[in-house]
């Protein structure tokens, strides 16, 4: 999942970036409203976390501008101001949730995951397909009631495909959403991840959960 963090305090921004990177997110950061607007419009963002107090224009203004540009991904407001009038103004501008500073990182992660789930139409944190269960909160994958050990990138690929069940996801889209920067399109890294995932998810080759659609991409659940 690709997350955009718009926060003007460099230390906090770095901490949030590291936290989400460790949790397997592709992270883009912006320190001003203008940078946030550019990144929010130009990159294939899955979710944005926006601080209300930005140096050039307010986070509420940024949300309004992003919504005006028809950016529909979920947005979570981070705010040091906890008054209801300010929270309502942010939510009214187009944000989907808010979190007051200082926050617990686990709460931030839970809120972000909940928003991602909601935006992909999955209310429950555990995504299932055939014999595969993916818990987006604990980041555990269970196949046939057995816990599976996946690397961070393998998990990212599987999570993205599980969140977009039934959709054909191109290599380009997949690389954009799991890496901070675009991979070289000729690279076979993604194919390697997919190959490894297939072996781990379906060692006997019976269920074939990840389909390859030649020239188009990959799909879970046709």
């Amino acid at each position: 999942m690709r997350i955009l963090i718009v926060e003007d305090e460099p230390i906090l921004c770095k901490q949030i970036q590291q936290f989400f990177a460790e949790k397997g997110f592709a992270v883009d950061i912006a320190n001003t409203g203008a940078e946030g607007l550019y990144a929010g419009k130009e990159y294939p963002i899955d979710i944005a976390v926006i601080d209300i107090g930005l140096p050039d224009f307010s986070g509420v203004e940024l949300i309004k501008k992003l919504r005006k540009e028809e950016m529909a991904y979920p947005i979570l407001i981070l705010t040091a101001r906890s008054r209801w009038q300010e929270k309502v103004a942010g939510l009214d501008a187009g944000a989907d949730d808010y979190l007051v500073k200082p926050f617990h990182y686990e709460e931030l992660l839970a809120r972000v995951n909940a928003l991602i789930r909601r935006s992909s139409g999955n209310a429950h944190p555990v995504l299932t397909f055939k014999n595969i269960e993916l818990d987006s909160v604990s980041q555990e994958v269970i196949v046939d009631h057995q816990k599976l050990e996946l690397t961070a990138y393998e998990y990212k690929v599987l999570e993205y495909l599980m969140f977009h069940q039934g959709e054909v996801v191109s290599k380009g889209t997949l690389s954009e959403h799991i890496y901070d920067e675009d991979l070289d399109r000729d690279s076979n890294v993604l194919e390697v991840f997919i190959g490894r995932l297939r072996k781990k998810l379906d060692p006997d080759g019976k269920t074939n959960p990840i389909e390859t659609l030649r020239g188009r991409g990959y799909r879970i659940g046709g």
Binding site: R83, W84, Q85, K87, L91, V100, R118
Partner: protein, 448 residues
């Protein structure tokens, strides 16, 4: 100029209006007097024409003789300014009065028999004149046409008009000055209460008095009451800020002492981490609570009431977003308008915290209603949920500062404590009881 700016402005405005009004009055009266004088002169000249006609006699040869002296003695005196002429139609002079010796008289072209025309001095002439064209029939039946003219020097009438104008202007100037003086005295007298308020405010600034205490006229009493309300509210704010700051500083010292003690004495890293997390959470709650308390205006809106309806609609829309997964069924019964005299931010805080708490605790239902009968205790709105509710013995504890009912739900106690303090500051009342319809908690907010 600063202190007398209002009276100065009123005086200048009144002076300007008076000048314009009197100027117009002078113009209109002068015109009226001039027209009236000219009309009178025309009538006088007409009478003289008839007098001249009465002493004129036509001979058989067609000659016109003035047979007797005219009654007006000014005709007999040369240079008197009143002249009489009798001329043939072609302008040949037949007769002129003794006063007109050496004077000429031009006839108006196009004057027809039986017509008379009055000439004013407006066209470079220095005379007013009345010319009358008469056809005279002799005994033989032959007709002869003559023009009779009576003229008067313009200087006489102009002098009369000027004299009138001068008198008029002098009097109006005098009346204007008198009116301005009266106006000034009235203004000074009328604005005395404002000056008194100014002096009282200065005394308040200097700390000699705490409120506006003078006896002000009814029109200013409301203003004085509002200023007194503002002063009291600002004083209460200042006191609250001071108390909040003191509370904040003091309440932070305990967790800080624990942290210092743990850093100096605790050797177990896990234990230290746990203590750090607990105390940081505690400090966060303290800061949050004190910040919310400090941000609350806690005063009644002087400028007017705030409508609760759009605020509730916005809060419910926001909470629907935040708690979308809980699938809460909001039953919101709102009138078209529900005005409450209180700061908008405070109203957001009260309703937002109560509805947010209801969202946290409810199973699936929340009810919001406004009480329409506002006579007894002013405005009243009610928030109910179908959650577990709060036991009576815990209720009083929750409404104390910063005490939380459930440590697992962040900010529960803080929100309610802030709501309770805010409502108290606004002179209202927060009542908590079991909801008879939803079986959960029911909060009743009374605001006067």
């Amino acid at each position: 100029m600063k202190t007398s700016a209002l009276s100065f402005r009123l005086l200048v405005a009144a002076g300007l209006i008076l000048t314009i009004a009197f100027g117009l009055m002078v113009f209109i009266l002068e015109q009226g007097f001039r027209n009236s004088a000219e009309r009178t002169l025309k009538e006088k000249l007409q009478v003289q024409i008839y007098a001249l006609l009465s002493v004129a006699e036509l001979t058989r040869k067609g000659q016109l003789n003035i047979t007797a002296n005219l009654h007006e003695p000014r005709f007999a005196s040369p240079g008197s300014g009143l002249y009489a002429f009798v001329q043939k139609k072609d302008g040949i002079l037949i007769w002129r009065s003794a006063s007109a010796l050496g004077e000429d008289n031009d006839l108006i072209a196009g004057l027809r028999a039986g017509e008379s025309v009055f000439l004013s001095n407006s066209n470079q002439s220095d005379r007013f004149a009345l010319q009358y064209d008469v056809i005279w029939e002799s005994d033989t039946g032959k007709e002869y046409e003559f023009v009779f003219t009576i003229a008067e020097e313009a200087a006489f009438l102009t002098g009369q008009v000027e004299s009138f104008s001068q008198t008029l202007r002098n009097w109006l100037l005098l009346v204007g000055l008198a009116l301005l003086l009266v106006q000034f005295i009235i203004l000074r007298w009328s604005l005395t209460p404002l000056r008194t308020i100014g002096k009282d405010l200065t005394a308040i600034e200097l700390g000699r008095q705490h409120q506006l205490q003078g006896a002000y006229p009814a029109e200013l009493q409301a203003l004085a009451n509002n200023i007194n309300g503002l002063i009291s509210s600002e004083r209460a704010h200042l006191l609250r800020y001071r108390n909040t700051l003191a509370d904040l500083a003091h309440s932070l010292k305990t967790p800080l002492a624990i942290l210092r003690g743990s850093l100096e004495n605790e050797s177990n890293n896990e234990q230290l981490k746990s203590t750090l997390q607990n105390q940081i959470s505690r400090m966060d709650d303290i800061v949050e609570y004190q910040l919310q308390k400090a941000a609350a205006k806690g005063q009644k809106q002087i400028t007017g009431a705030v409508d609760l309806v759009p605020i509730i609609k916005k809060i419910v829309a926001s909470l629907n977003k935040v708690y979308v997964e809980k699938n809460i069924r909001f039953s919101v019964d709102l009138p078209t308008q529900y005005p409450i005299h209180c700061d908008e931010g405070d109203l957001y805080e009260i309703a937002g915290n109560l509805l947010d708490n209801a969202c946290k605790w409810c199973v699936s239902q929340i009810k919001f209603t406004c009480q329409n009968d506002r006579k007894a205790e002013g405005a009243c709105f009610i928030v109910e949920d179908d959650g577990p509710g709060i036991a009576d013995e815990k209720l009083n504890e929750i409404l104390k500062r910063g005490v939380r009912a459930d440590q697992n739900i962040h900010g529960h106690g803080i929100g309610l404590a802030v709501v309770n303090e805010l409502i108290t500051l606004l002179g209202g009342r927060l009542v908590g009881e079991k909801s008879s319809t939803l079986s959960g908690m029911k909060w009743l907010v009374y605001l006067k």
